[in-house]
């Protein structure tokens, strides 16, 4: 093919013009129309993209920063490393914006417990759970205190229980376990004027934990003599069975949406159970692992004697992290608020906080000398911690 020289010159001229236009483009941001409004982006290479409006949204929300300050590189493939950044930023931003704290503009992380955020409860408080509005606290003196979440006011005191330990809110009832022999399962009807709780049934001796799967309550019983087990209570029929095979001294129990998990302080394991109480999987832990928590993907297990938190992936039981430091000192219980996990340090009189999505430590905060923090829960806005030595419920 024969090409005239003038044509080549014209082609070269065109290329130079194009390059100049490109240089000018980098100085000017791209405009587009989204939802009827005019939008300007700092990227010079996204005009005309059918995804212009989505690129704009991703930029506005901080899901992307562009491939440079002035380019987005819309046609470039996304390597898996960029993909990880995109999806984790998206999850974090989704959680942040949808949290109750965000909606109330409570963007702070509390740096100290204040005396103004303490509510007096009964003596030697232990377990605490939120019903969405009110907190329910078990006290060692045989009572359960109901506290209004918005302002910490004591509303009611329920009576007639022996050593109430843990509490669970479901089916319009407040279930309370009595840590005695035989163990007790009580129910409180929060519609009724406060009075004595109703005894539902006796369970295996000295129950320490309670969890629910939508039909069955699973109660873990700590014998102190390697002869503990679990009691499975069928809520609709009131039927119950007790299983001891494979258990030593169970303490904490949680339900992860698929299975129950029980920590066993007798043989230092966490055990995944089916609804019949049969052990499906066992994972070795540190010693004295009490109350774990599930965050939607992982189970966080505080190990008191090692000042350690073990994070286990619930779907397969693999240990994904061993957390130390961050003020851990005799950790015994845990709670999750949608974004953060709080671990209660019973021996160190403090709490330790982590961001649940990337396991980054957020610091530890003292609950005060000789307070013996024990149980913890979240109501989506605050964490609430029982201080068993000072008979208080603390709001964080």
């Amino acid at each position: 093919m024969k090409i005239k020289r003038s044509k080549i010159l014209r082609a070269v001229g065109l290329v130079i013009l194009t390059m100049l236009a490109g240089a000018m483009n980098s100085l000017q941001a791209d405009n587009g129309t989204c939802n009827g409004g005019s939008i300007t982006l700092p990227f010079s290479d996204v005009a005309g993209s059918i995804f212009f409006c989505q690129i704009a949204e991703a930029y506005f929300c901080g899901l992307t920063n562009g491939s440079s300050a002035t380019t987005y590189s819309p046609a470039a493939p996304v390597p898996r490393e960029q993909m990880a950044a995109f999806i984790t930023r998206t999850m974090d931003q989704s959680l942040k914006r949808s949290s109750r704290r965000g909606k109330l503009q409570q963007w702070w992380t509390q740096k100290a417990f204040t005396s103004t955020a303490l509510t007096p409860v009964g003596s030697n408080p232990g377990g605490v759970k939120s019903d969405g509005k009110d907190l329910w606290v078990t006290n060692g003196d045989g009572t359960v205190t109901r506290i209004r979440g918005c302002d910490g006011k004591v509303l009611e005191t329920w009576t007639g229980m022996i050593f109430p330990r843990e509490v669970l809110v479901a089916n319009g009832r407040i279930y309370v376990i009595g840590g005695t022999s035989p163990g007790k399962l009580y129910a409180i009807d929060p519609d009724q004027p406060p009075g004595n709780a109703t005894l539902l049934t006796d369970v295996a001796n000295y129950p320490a934990g309670i969890a629910y799967n939508g039909e069955y309550l699973m109660l873990s019983s700590f014998s102190g003599s390697n002869s503990g087990g679990v009691t499975i209570y069928h809520v609709p029929s009131h039927g119950k069975t007790t299983v001891t095979t494979g258990f030593s001294d169970p303490w904490g129990v949680i339900y992860d949406g698929n299975a129950f998990w029980v920590t066993d302080v007798g043989d230092n394991q966490i055990k995944r159970l089916n609804v019949n109480g049969q052990i499906q999987q066992s994972i070795v832990l540190g010693s004295h692992s009490y109350q774990p928590i599930f965050d939607g993907a992982n189970i966080w297990i505080p190990c008191r004697d090692q000042n350690l938190v073990i994070v286990v992936k619930a779907s397969n039981g693999s240990v994904i992290a061993l957390l130390t430091g961050n003020g851990l000192s005799g950790p015994v219980s845990a709670s999750f608020d949608g974004e953060r996990v709080m671990i209660v340090n019973n021996l160190g009189n403090s709490v330790s906080l982590w961001r649940a999505s990337d396991l980054s430590p957020l610091g530890s905060v003292s609950t005060g000398a000789n307070t013996s923090p024990s149980g913890v829960c979240s109501d989506g806005r605050n964490f609430w911690i029982t201080l068993s030595a000072t008979n208080k419920l603390a709001r964080f």
């Binding site: 989204c34 939802n35 409004g37 939008i39 300007t40 996204v46 993209s49 995804f51 989505q54 690129i55 704009a56 949204e57 991703a58 930029y59 506005f60 929300c61 901080g62 899901l63 992307t64 491939s67 987005y72 590189s73 819309p74 046609a75 470039a76 493939p77 996304v78 960029q82 993909m83 995109f86 999806i87 998206t90 931003q93 989704s94 959680l95 914006r97 949808s98 949290s99 109750r100 965000g102 909606k103 109330l104 503009q105 963007w107 702070w108 509390q110 740096k111 100290a112 204040t114 103004t116 955020a117 509510t119 509005k133 209004r148 979440g149 918005c150 302002d151 910490g152 004591v154 709001r395």
Partner: protein, 395 residues
């Protein structure tokens, strides 16, 4: 490009052939949706190139069912293709929007509407020249002339009020089991209400420099924006320090999880402020900036000059300047997880935006002569203080 006649004819025939092939292919693949088992349930997706044996079959199905993807065509997903960055932007922004829409309290309550008017049946009379409002999650606290009122959010019932002498509560903060009321005047005063106690007099915590307008908290320090300074009040110890260097006329203040930001209506700036009073960054915003709000990424600064400046908190970069959408003498802002509401003091209205894509959702009259001031969200409703009609309006 110009075809000669012969080329035109060939081109026409080629286009017809391609159309025929495409439509035939489409018809046949339409019939070939793929079926697989996910979580014990048999499901079908319309994509002929996603086999049930694909290890991501169930994830692709979920992304399709939830509207996170539409496929590359109506009948293909192209599972082996690379994702381009422009496609990625669509994936992540749709995922964010869907997470927020589904995770909101309004979704759980079936409240998918966007209110198009203020209803008189959703107003609570609060009296006393109200200026500010904040939610504790269950009750609204309304600051006004010499009093802070408490309104139950579930039904809008006025419950009780606490007195702050003759001082007007310009802004409120709820933290540490207390309702902090910042009252203007000379000197300004910071009061605390213990909401567990029977209603009565609010406790005076401290006095502050004249003209305190805004209050924010970082978990340990309360910062107030005063007429010509800011004050750092250390909650655990009760000590305080005032800083005036670099400030002209602070108007509003917000904490973004890392630092404080103060709007300065004396020089039309947004100033990033450390607890030590140092200004670490200065951003140009519109004239007469008011009370800003943070949405998890950006700070929205309502300006009296009928504009809203949107600033990226991580960098201080102005990412958008919003005008129109009914803005008029804008003073205050609130965020409900998905939407931003701005109050317009001179046009008696509020303006609403979707926070993720900055889409204007319209403006709505609060009634002639009402003068909307403070606004907050409790996660279900926005609550707007109507200064002149002495009401709290639920939106």
């Amino acid at each position: 490009m110009i075809f000669n006649l012969k080329e035109k004819g060939i081109a026409r025939r080629a286009v017809m052939l391609l159309t025929l092939i495409a439509s035939l292919t489409l018809t046949s693949t339409n019939l070939r949706a793929n079926t697989g088992s996910c979580g014990g349930t048999i499901i079908s997706v319309p994509f002929s190139d996603v086999q049930s044996s694909n290890i991501f079959f169930c994830a692709i199905a979920e992304a399709y069912f939830s509207g996170l993807t539409n496929g590359t065509t109506a009948t293909t997903y192209s599972p082996g293709d690379n994702v381009t960055r422009e496609q990625m932007a669509a994936f992540v922004s749709r995922t964010l929007d869907q997470s927020l829409a589904r995770g909101s309290q309004r979704a759980a309550l079936g409240q998918w509407w966007t209110q198009q008017f203020f209803s008189s049946s959703a107003e609570t009379s609060v009296g006393g020249f109200p200026l500010s409002v904040k939610s504790d999650g269950e009750y609204l606290w309304v600051g006004g002339a010499g009093a802070v009122g408490r309104v139950r959010a579930s039904d809008g019932k006025y419950i009780e009020f606490w007195t702050t002498g003759t001082d007007n509560a310009a802004d409120l903060l709820i933290a540490n089991g207390r309702i902090y009321a910042l009252c203007g005047g000379s000197p300004a005063k910071l009061y605390a209400i213990d909401p567990e106690q029977p209603a009565g007099n609010a406790a005076l915590l401290t006095t502050l420099p004249v003209g305190a307008n805004g209050i924010a908290y970082d978990g340990e320090h309360i910062l107030t924006a005063n007429a010509s300074s800011i004050t750092n009040y250390h909650v655990p110890s009760g000590s305080q320090i005032t800083y005036s260097s670099g400030f002209n006329q602070p108007a509003g203040i917000v904490y973004d999880g890392h630092t404080f930001w103060v709007t300065d209506s004396g020089d039309d700036k947004l100033k990033q402020v450390l607890v030590t009073g140092q200004i670490s960054q200065v951003v140009d915003v519109g004239h007469f900036p008011g009370s800003p709000v943070f949405d998890g990424t950006n700070i929205w600064v309502p300006c009296g000059s009928n504009q809203v400046t949107v600033v990226r908190a991580a960098t201080g970069q102005v990412i958008a300047t919003l005008t129109d959408n009914g803005l008029g003498g804008s003073t205050a802002a609130a965020f409900d997880g998905e939407r931003i509401m701005i109050t317009n003091g001179t046009t008696d209205s509020v303006s609403l935006w979707r926070a993720t894509d900055l889409k204007a959702l319209g403006s709505f009259s609060t009634g002639a002569g009402t003068i909307p001031q403070g606004v907050c969200s409790d996660g279900i409703n926005f609550w707007v203080v109507l200064r002149n009609s002495e009401k709290l309006a639920r939106y």
